[in-house]
């Protein structure tokens, strides 16, 4: 198997697990962080369609992000589960500290804390570390991304 195919297969598999973990933790009432919905609602106001489109986008972005992991493994010269875990910690930190707080600026339907909701922007912003979506949100994000990294690091071979 070429390294490109290995990346595609294991990157996609790890993304599926990450998506499942996020969805499961929502069903278990651990968090209201719903990344597919956040992504999909950028494209449509329809809740159901937003979830469907968002799922597609999330899987695609997962594959792209796994490319960054693969690049890290290549730079390091080997892929291990703990390398993946470490990259997962960095990835989760980036999502929690940079992506989520920047969401109100990126998302056309999201309210900002300084201005509040408007007719167009009605989605609740995530807040610092996504805490508006539940106090366990940072933990869920961290664990699921670490699992993503562990799987990718453990399965992908350079």
């Amino acid at each position: 198997m070429s390294w490109l195919l290995r990346w595609a297969v294991w990157g996609f598999a790890s993304t599926l697990v990450l998506t499942g973990l996020l969805a499961g933790s929502q069903r278990l009432r651990l968090t209201r962080l719903n990344l597919p919905f956040l992504l999909g609602s950028m494209a449509t106001a329809d809740r159901d369609k937003a979830k469907l489109y968002g799922l597609g986008l999330h899987l695609l972005f997962g594959l792209l992000f796994s490319g960054v992991y693969v690049a890290v493994f290549a730079a390091w010269g080997r892929a291990t589960w703990w390398m993946g875990a470490l990259t997962g910690v960095l990835h989760a930190s980036f999502v929690l500290l940079v992506v989520l707080p920047a969401m109100p600026a990126l998302h056309p339907r999201m309210a900002s804390e300084s201005q509040g909701p408007t007719e167009v922007r009605q989605l609740e912003p995530p807040g610092f570390l996504g805490l508006h979506y539940g106090v366990r949100t940072p933990l869920v994000a961290l664990v699921s991304h670490v699992v993503f990294g562990v799987l990718l690091g453990g399965l992908f071979r350079l």
Binding site: R29, E113, P125, H132
Partner: protein, 618 residues
Amino acid sequence: MRPTRIHDYAVIGDGHSVALVSRAGAIDWLCWPRFDSPSLFAAILDPDVGGTWRLLPVGPSRVTRRYLPDTNVLETRFEADGGVLVVTDLMPIHEERPPRVWPSRELVRCVSCEQGEVVLEVDYDPRPDYGRAKAPVRDGGRLGWRLEHGGWLYTLRADVPLRPRPGGGLYGRLTMRAGQRAHFSLTATDDGPAVLPPVGRFTWEHVERSVRAWRGWVRGCRYSGPYREAVVRSALALKLLTFGPSGGVVAAPTTSLPEVPGGKDNWDYRFCWVRDAAFTARAFYGLGYEAEAESFVSWLLRATWLTQPRMHVFYDVYGRVRAGERELPHLRGYEGSRPVRVGNAAAVQLQLDAYGEAIDAVAQWARRGGHLSRDELRMLRCFGEYITKVWDRPDEGIWESRSGRLAHTFSRVSCWMALERLLELHGRGVFRDVRMPVERFREARQWLREEIETRGWNQRLHSYVRVLDGDAVDADLLLLSWYGFEDARSERMRSTYRRIQERLEVGDGLLFRNEDDVREGEGAFGICSFWRVGFLAKGGGDFAEAEASFARLLRCANDVGLYAEEMDPRTGEARGNFPQAFTHVGLIGAALELEEARPRREPVWRTEREAWSEEARA
């Protein structure tokens, strides 16, 4: 604190859940996200513990209410000393292709001062999980007041200044002058980030959109006879009790509102009863709401699929069996009527009448060209075969008595009807290539008829009786003619009716269910009283009496046209769970029977002026 009378509530909803709004401007019952979810407000069951959300003027005021015509948008008008305040309550209906993201659950309250100057008082005291959860309301600034519990976020946004109350909840006062408005939006979510609609002009757009949506739905009503307003109100109430995603219709949206004040007959009705199937389907079809009828029959076919050939008494809104029953001892109950129960142990009782009612509902669908799959046809056959094995067993009966099983006459009539309908469908060719044990069904149908006509008939009383070889009557016997078992004009049915009148009738055309209810001090039963009207209209009595009785029953509705399960025999006041689908189905059924019979009878409802105009035209 004494609770508000059941009679004094109105209902708003959105096809997933409903809220009860009192004349005092209080939301005293709300379960989110579904009818059978734990409550957020339950002051109706315990004013101290349950939680409420009140919007009303300070000081005494005269209250009048109405639904905006042909809608489920409620308007409560407070005429206070200083001016007039109007509160508009609704749970918004969303468009199919929304231009914006909508909250999955929302309750909107708009206040406007129409005259003078009035001080509005706001008391927001949510208590999740039937008042058991201790969850503080936190200030989210521009994002509203937030309450988090069990993965759910409840957000209140308002353009009225509110402040936390030391004991929990929020409190506020605002002096409003003529022309001034205030807006409140309460949303709930557990699925992704909350959607926070802005309050103000946008809130009124919500109201207008919902008004348009409800009126659009009402325009689909084919009924054009007299008392249309009451019939349409009943249809709107039934629509509120329909769970949109599945089509299931809950018996009532409340639990444990007592049949006898202070009594123990307090049951959870937030589920979908199979018994109601035939009546509900007939009501929807009769009014021209084919889609609602069909989705209810589809729900029925899905719900009974996993439990066939047994049919449970009820299923939840998704068609799952919900057998558990438990008590909530921390709630005092309406007027001290303990226990407060959630869940209902009647789910696994044996009610043989359910088979007839369910199969009749499916037959109505099939008669209108509804397509049944091969598996569904096999399931119907399976039900028929089961009936041939169990029809002579004692059961809990249509009223799901908890005092043991008896050989109910009506259960046998219903089994007879089930076989009759199956044979009818077979005769119409509905069963196509699914083999039916036709002879077996015919034989069982004949045995049933013989048993009902011999042991279900009491020679001494000259009446059909509630239990085989018994000497008590039950209002369900009026349905023998409705089901086509016996003509309403027959001597047997007329004398049965006389006996029912003698033993179960109470002033103003109200009927008790049976003699047990009379002894136990229960209320008159809503649907039985409407069955009486239907029976008379079918020829069992005088048409004019039927119509007059119907008109009298309409006066037992509360000020916004809603009925509970039972009515106080003296005052006509609502008793039991509220509003009750069965009673509203009864009202629609009776109106349709009257309309069907009218061409053959004297149209007593016409005013002299209308009769004169007709003569003049002729």
